[in-house]
Symmetry: C3
Subunit: 436 residues, 3 copies
């Protein structure tokens, strides 16, 4: 499938998933996972009972909601969850009562600085209820009595997550983590799972995979914490690079959040690929983190996980409001993220170390690799070839060589294959490299 088609396909998935009422638990979360499982059938859906301990946390009760509205004295529904699932504060406890305007106001949330936007508000761990609405609508609610109804329930159930292990030649792993717990929002929600789904389809289509890929679709924060509480020990040994996939849908910036201490393989790969594949990108500090890298990179977990985004959460104005809708993301925006992230995974796959087999420069001419007359302009390819051989000293991985000689790892890998085919370099297992 070409890139434009991948973009369109991802956008269609986002359209299908958009209306579903998701939260960190409940039917909407399961429905969304079910949709994704149709696209990547190997996805396993796990259930963790409410009350389960996970490090410092406890899996909360499951939340489901059927109806929620604010009606006036005439019974007219002024604010209705059916119109937009952001209208209710996530995890609202049930309520059905009459309130006067002042009492009602304590349960309303709006953004005066964006008066047309319905804000996104949740209260997972403190029992309360509330509504969200545009500031303009809030101002239009005059004095009087209002009936508020939230027909939800919050009771023991399960927290779900999806997990897919794509085995590779090695049991060393690359992690892809995305979340599926926000209701109708597009860049900060659906872009993540649809790009991750497309990456999985692409990985499944590869002739061979060096790394094992661990792909998880979790509810943000509690989901990654629950997941780590089960798998951290193994992942600390095996994960060589990871990516939190979120905010990958719009056409504005590219953004990069490094790992906690920087300098990991994931950081190096991401920096290299962004430098070569996109015109410009914003490099943030880990102090500006905000998604599940908070857990993956936390001190006692400390995985090499980074995040490559388009417009970053917290930064773009539509973030966490009803303005983050399907008009904000696009097939090209999604495809751009897919391209950069798949380029990162390709780079990881090709990133071996190499060592020349012969002291001094080899005689490329006798192998048909080099112009035999020395005044002819050395073409770019010959230069890359000679430079590759110059730094293929067994102490650098391909990424290090590419950075040293100023070309992309993709171009460097093609030269490395050619040189290996002529027995001019040998590909090193990691052990050989360390032994040097």
């Amino acid at each position: 499938m070409n890139k434009i088609n991948i973009g369109k396909e991802m956008y269609r998935w986002a359209e299908d998933l958009f209306p579903i009422t998701r939260s960190i638990t409940g039917a909407g979360f399961r429905e969304s996972l079910g949709y994704i499982k149709k696209l990547i059938p190997g996805l396993e859906i796990h259930s963790v009972p409410s009350g389960t301990k996970a490090f410092d946390w406890t899996v909360p009760d499951e939340w489901n909601i059927r109806e929620a509205y604010i009606a006036d004295e005439s019974g007219r529904k002024l604010v209705d969850f059916k119109n937009h699932n952001l209208h209710v504060v996530g995890y609202s406890v049930p309520v059905d009562c009459w309130l006067d305007r002042d009492e009602l106001d304590k349960h309303l949330n709006s953004k005066p600085e964006q008066p047309d936007a319905i804000p996104y508000v949740t209260s997972y761990y403190k029992k309360r209820w509330g509504f969200c609405l545009s500031h303009n609508q809030r101002k239009s609610l005059g004095p009087g009595k209002y009936r508020v109804v939230i027909d939800s329930d919050l009771k023991p159930g399960v927290l779900n997550y999806g997990e897919l292990i794509l085995p590779g030649q090695s049991d060393e792993e690359v992690l892809l983590s995305t979340y599926v717990c926000h209701p109708s929002m597009a860049n900060n929600e659906l872009s993540g799972p649809v790009v991750t789904t497309a990456l999985v389809q692409w990985l499944q289509g590869l002739k061979e995979r060096r790394y094992t890929y661990r792909v998880v679709f979790v509810p943000e924060t509690i989901g990654s914490i629950v997941y780590l509480s089960k798998h951290a020990e193994w992942m600390k040994k095996k994960v060589k690079a990871g990516f939190v996939v979120t905010c990958t849908g719009d056409d504005r910036a590219y953004s990069f959040v490094p790992s906690r201490c920087g300098g990991t393989l994931a950081d190096r790969i991401a920096g290299h690929v962004l430098s070569h594949e996109v015109d410009e990108y914003i490099k943030y500090s880990f102090l500006e983190r905000g998604s599940d890298e908070r857990q993956y990179c936390s001190p006692l977990i400390d995985l090499p996980v980074v995040s490559i985004m388009r417009s970053k959460y917290n930064v773009y104005p539509e973030y966490h409001t009803s303005l983050d809708d399907l008009s904000l993301i696009s097939p090209t925006g999604l495809a751009g993220s897919f391209n950069v992230l798949s380029a990162c995974l390709s780079a990881l796959e090709m990133n071996y170390s190499y060592r020349v087999t012969i002291p001094c420069e080899p005689q490329l001419g006798k192998r048909g690799l080099y112009p035999s007359t020395r005044t002819e302009e050395r073409g770019h390819e010959e230069q890359v070839m000679m430079n590759f051989l110059t730094y293929a000293d067994g102490t650098r991985d391909l990424l290090g060589i590419a950075d040293e000689i100023g070309v992309s790892i993709k171009e460097c890998a093609a030269i490395a294959s050619l040189m290996e085919a002529h027995n001019l370099v040998e590909r090193l297992e990691n052990e050989d490299r360390k032994g040097l």
Copy 2:
């Protein structure tokens, strides 16, 4: 005592000490130490006999002076030590003779470029005598005979220094070193001992001290060399940070001279505190050193000693002249130095390493440490809290965490205490940190 009062107090001490005729040995030095001992009674005054060897040096004879003047033929005293003790070259041998104007001139010192200033000149190790006077006065001395009288003596005695050990929980030490060997000058002399004295009073008032404080009042150069000849082996094992306290009195610059190779705990603390506590400061190179750090940082001693000053010796125009008088220093100038240096000592006291106790982020909400509704603006304190927990990985000391997350160590320490009280982090002994 509040800061303004401390400044005034220190200034009063400087006023009291100003008139005393100090040199590297002698009665004035002892009188000055005696004054300080009244303020910090624990101070021990040591005596080292003339002729004692100290590394490459020998303690010189003790110098005392009663009278010195230049009189004209009529017996009128034109230059009189009673008027300003800078008028005589320090360590001048006794003399009483008549000279003509040309002969006299060979024994005069003045500064043509600062014609009103009496320069400060000494000759500790070469036997000579001389007078210092303003260049204007020198020019006013016409032809004729002059009587010169210096009633001094230079004979075996002692070199004195003051030493105070303030024990702490650990036998690891912080060094404060200042000198008391200059006659009537203010910034480059009395500011150092009075700020050091105030720091000692403040340290004595602390409820507990982690470090043991070694505080010395020495004659510059020969005094620190003598002191090191007795204590260097111990100090090389125990001193974790040290400060030469000098030129701490005026209201102009803040200045910083790093240790010889930089990067020590003292350098890191000083750089951090200056960055957070003062608007701007001048960072000098160790090549611009000029006080007892020359000895403390010398290759075979190599202690982690830095110097935080106001206007640095050699740099300000009044340096080593009669213009460096009590009008040059001020209560606020002294208090500024006291604040920065006490902040450095506080920073050292609080600079432990921390490690989180729980994998992944803790649930701050259930501890009342965090807003439970996620759309509320995270306040600055919450951010510092989360950032502190993110870098409290047991490999960084508090200073390193503070620098990483961009806040002062003071602010970071408050958060660290709160987190420790909630058992979210543990404070590490150094051994634990190394074992990581």
Copy 3:
């Protein structure tokens, strides 16, 4: 011999060598080596038979040429090797035939962008023949028949190189490598061997040499590869610094090509000397290499070899054309290179580590090394003295101390000798330094 005379002498040697028809093998190469051997009689001339294997390469047949021309139908020689030995493609196989203009053109080389220049072209490893001529002349060759004659032979013989080992106190080596394989060109050829020859004469005149000097005059590429195939194992153990001497003749830039990974003793010395000895210089990347450092620095050889040049090969417009003639180089250009390179060798000779013998500052006054009155301006020399003693801590070599205190290694070495004479420092053998 003073510097101007050395420059003139080197220029005369270049004039003598200029007309000889050199290639990577053959009579012209031997004649050139023979000329140099008269200047440095110890030079040993080695012969390696055609067909000898050297790593990935094989010594080619020896090439000799007597005559080569293009004549028109009237027998008039239009392009004649006798007029300029660049007219024939190096290693051209013999030919004697008539060709029409179109056929002839396939064997012609010229530079349209430099229409008056005869380009330099070789074809060592692919059997072909060809002529080089100015583009203007090429355009002047009208339709018709042309006779081409190349009276060369290409048959088993030898490859030669010159080698001189100048023993020093240590068997640790400094390498000087230059090449003698280009026909009549001046900056990119003769400047290298004549400066190398002058350096050898200068080294032979030194009272003592710390290092053993290995000096080689080789044909470029194949020569250094052959040489390394014999000596690499020893050189990898013994060569502490090396210099490829080429393009050392013109008066324009100074240029520096670092070693492959940088940071070696050769890199540090070259950077220091260039900073102190010349007004400005261009620092290239190793990616812009182009001479025998390609072999010396190749991954499995990895010697600390750099190149200090005037205008660098590939960069100056006359490079590899007949315009690179004796008018391009000058006595002052050659002398400048000689000065910088001899300063590098001097710096290597003096680059010991030093450690002070006494804790704290020594008392320089009692040794007559220091003004005894402290208000006198410290002169520059006293400052260097104190700074040298401050960083002579046994962990830095003299180069490191000089860089730290901001003076040239030459100035620092004079102070080091003075301090050593007063037993204030001791010179360390390398083993002592490591043991610190």
